[in-house]
Symmetry: C2
């Protein structure tokens, strides 16, 4: 193992992915790994947790030095979580000290001095907790969070890597699906409903609004989680659209809800974070329209397709995802603990941005929703200000290479790091 | 109006789109119009029926001479039906002579000598009936069918324009969605169901099979309309997949059905052709799995997104769609009536093909299903022979131009042709 100029063996780095994956989270991994490889005198080996933090807890680590530069480069255009991700929220140190002690045990065994945690809201909370173990439990580690969420609900940062690509996918799909319906509406489907993700924040639904520039152009109606669903008002608008334009295209967020807070569609199960698992608001809305007006309808539920659609990723998003990964390493090497690189917008047209470090404590557990001035007064569309904000985020194309008609995504060898501990850990 | 060498004013051409639209039907229109424009001495004006055959019956025609060459060129990369399409099946001449007499009235008023009808199974039947009105009703018209159907169920032709692009979309989506599920399966979703189109023929579902090359790679299970659904066998296979691979990805055709012929999901309504309207087999299958095994699941319904996804079209498909449009004009000018250009495969690797004229009577009302030797013995996958057939059809990329992050699809001016008839027609 190389020694630094000072003669000390450089400490190793651990990278882990967390929460729902995206089309560009691996681009952030690529940024981390390529940046770390440039500093071999300061960062020793680079490991990844298999299935995220669970890999760290169970000493199930992937040795990234076994991956070729071409494979690492390929992560930039490969969607989903190449190392495995997990929905696993650490409790506070007071509530579950065992987990933190186990983490330290694994960190110590593998001389982990840098921890990079790539995730969303809940994950920045976990990253913040881990960043504190130097002070509370006496193990020195530099912990830097790397933003990732398709929901775009992290505060402080202008936007969140992962969002731009899902936004582009939804805008493109709304445009294309809208053209389809328009061409058949006279004798066939009059109403098309596209269900999109976004549990509490309607950013993805808002992105559908980019598809049209005039009231006559789809989507004619957007249903946001931020706007209380009013059935009568909604049904009246649908009827008006069909009367005025011959058809009606609706983009509905999975988080659309009634005045009492109840989601339009609740499947009744909950995920590991205790959030209600949603799905199926598309057919619920379509059926509501059929019952009221009898129009022929179709509905689509993009589900995972929207967040894994690397084939239609936004170049801006890919560039930002890579940049936050790279910056995380630079921040760590500059000795910054408990921070996250945030995107700061310098101008919208042309879109210019830079990265700035922000304390994890400012980011963790805060949800950024679509603000009122981004939603039209009737609650069914996006304003010009919203369009100005969103448009640069879907800008540019960055198609993956193709082979035999399909994207040529890379797969890791995923060589395991030899275990050093005799103890195991149950998650 | 130009006169031909022989001194006669050249007769006009009418183009109409029919049935469900596709990502490349406008590429066929582009082929027709560009080819016709090269023969101004033989073909006078080029019109399109607004909303397909309905435009012809109601004398609602679009004057394509008012569209710029750039707009016509742009049709090559613009999805859905730019002129409007319709699900409207003509009865036989014996059953509804009025419709044919009205068509002739409109044709005569606008001196239509060439009729190009761009559609699928039902539409080739209509094209054939119209091709016969010269003999039966004494109005001379050359009628050429242009194949179009995302379902790929037309006989004789190697494949059908529209299918290659939806096949590519579904293969890419299965690949990407599969990577998403794989990366989260340990702590989250174990089962992912993607519902695809294909009422009676499982070609689109089969295309999902291109995403994986090994049994461990998604999709793990394909449900074809051609294979009777066996619930117990299916549920056992799902369990085996989750046990062997940690997760299970399923591509299910909307036409999947039980032994008694009943679709897994029937919404109970019918379309204009009398076909049962389907939708929702995805959630039905997902729920079946939850009830039996309790796995956490997600499902997606691509619906119209799959057939309008020009952004990820197959170049082979676009080329073929353009070519059949162009060939239709050439056949018509060669005096061939009641034919359709069919694609004849010359070799699979490399993929080489040519066009040959086939009689409409051989094509109309015949459905080409996925043959048994294309489906694995267990009924859940595609064979090597099927892969050899399908792979060339998704080959090559042909992305549209983008502007501000979105495909820059063209819109027609759609100038109406001045009506010449005093009579109207109720459709």
């Amino acid at each position: 193992m190389k020694k630094s100029k000072a003669g000390r063996t450089p400490r190793n780095a651990l990278y882990a992915q967390s929460g729902g994956v995206s089309a560009v989270i691996n681009a952030s991994a690529c940024g981390v790994i390529e940046a770390a490889r440039k500093h071999r005198n300061r960062i020793g080996r680079i490991y990844a947790g298999r299935d995220g933090i669970i890999g760290a807890l169970t000493e199930n680590l992937i040795d990234l030095s076994r991956e070729s530069p071409a494979t690492i480069r390929g992560l930039r255009y490969t969607p989903a979580g190449a190392f495995g991700s997990a929905r696993f929220k650490l409790k506070s140190i007071e509530q579950n000290r065992t987990e933190y002690e186990r983490l330290i045990e694994v960190f110590r065994a593998h001389d982990i001095g840098y921890f990079f945690y790539n995730g969303g809201n809940d994950s920045m909370d976990t990253a913040w907790k881990i960043s504190q173990i130097g002070g509370t439990l006496g193990y020195p580690v530099v912990c830097v969070g790397i933003p990732k969420t398709v929901d775009n609900d992290l505060p402080v940062t202008d936007c969140c890597p992962g969002f731009g690509s899902v936004a582009k996918y939804i805008a493109v799909s709304t445009l294309e699906g809208g053209l389809d319906v328009a061409s058949m509406a006279r004798t066939s489907t009059k109403v098309f409903v596209l269900e999109v993700m976004g549990r509490h924040a309607g950013w993805i639904a808002a992105a559908g609004g980019l598809a049209g520039r005039k009231p006559s152009e789809p989507p004619h109606i957007i249903l946001f989680p931020e706007v209380t669903f009013d059935k009568d008002k909604f049904l009246a608008r649908v009827k008006q659209c069909v009367s005025d334009y011959g058809y009606c295209v609706i983009v509905v967020s999975e988080g659309a809800r009634y005045a009492d807070g109840k989601f339009l569609a609740e499947s009744g199960t909950t995920d590991a974070f205790g959030h209600t698992q949603l799905g199926g608001v598309g057919p619920v809305v379509a059926n509501m329209i059929r019952e009221a007006h009898g129009y022929k309808y179709h509905w689509a539920v993009a589900d995972y397709l929207q967040r894994s659609a690397r084939h239609v990723a936004s170049k801006t998003d890919v560039d930002q995802a890579y940049a936050v990964g790279k910056a995380a390493v630079e921040y760590a090497l500059a000795g910054m603990n408990a921070v996250m690189p945030a995107i700061k917008r310098l101008s919208s047209k042309p879109y210019r941005w830079k990265l700035v470090p922000v304390p994890l404590s400012e980011v963790a557990n805060v949800e950024k929703k679509v603000p009122p001035h981004f939603i039209t007064e009737d609650g069914f569309g996006i304003t010009a200000a919203c369009r100005r904000y969103l448009e640069p985020l879907i800008g540019g194309e960055d198609p993956p290479p193709y082979r035999d008609g399909l994207p040529d995504y890379v797969r890791l060898r995923g060589t395991a790091v030899r275990r050093k501990l005799k103890t195991s850990f149950q998650v």
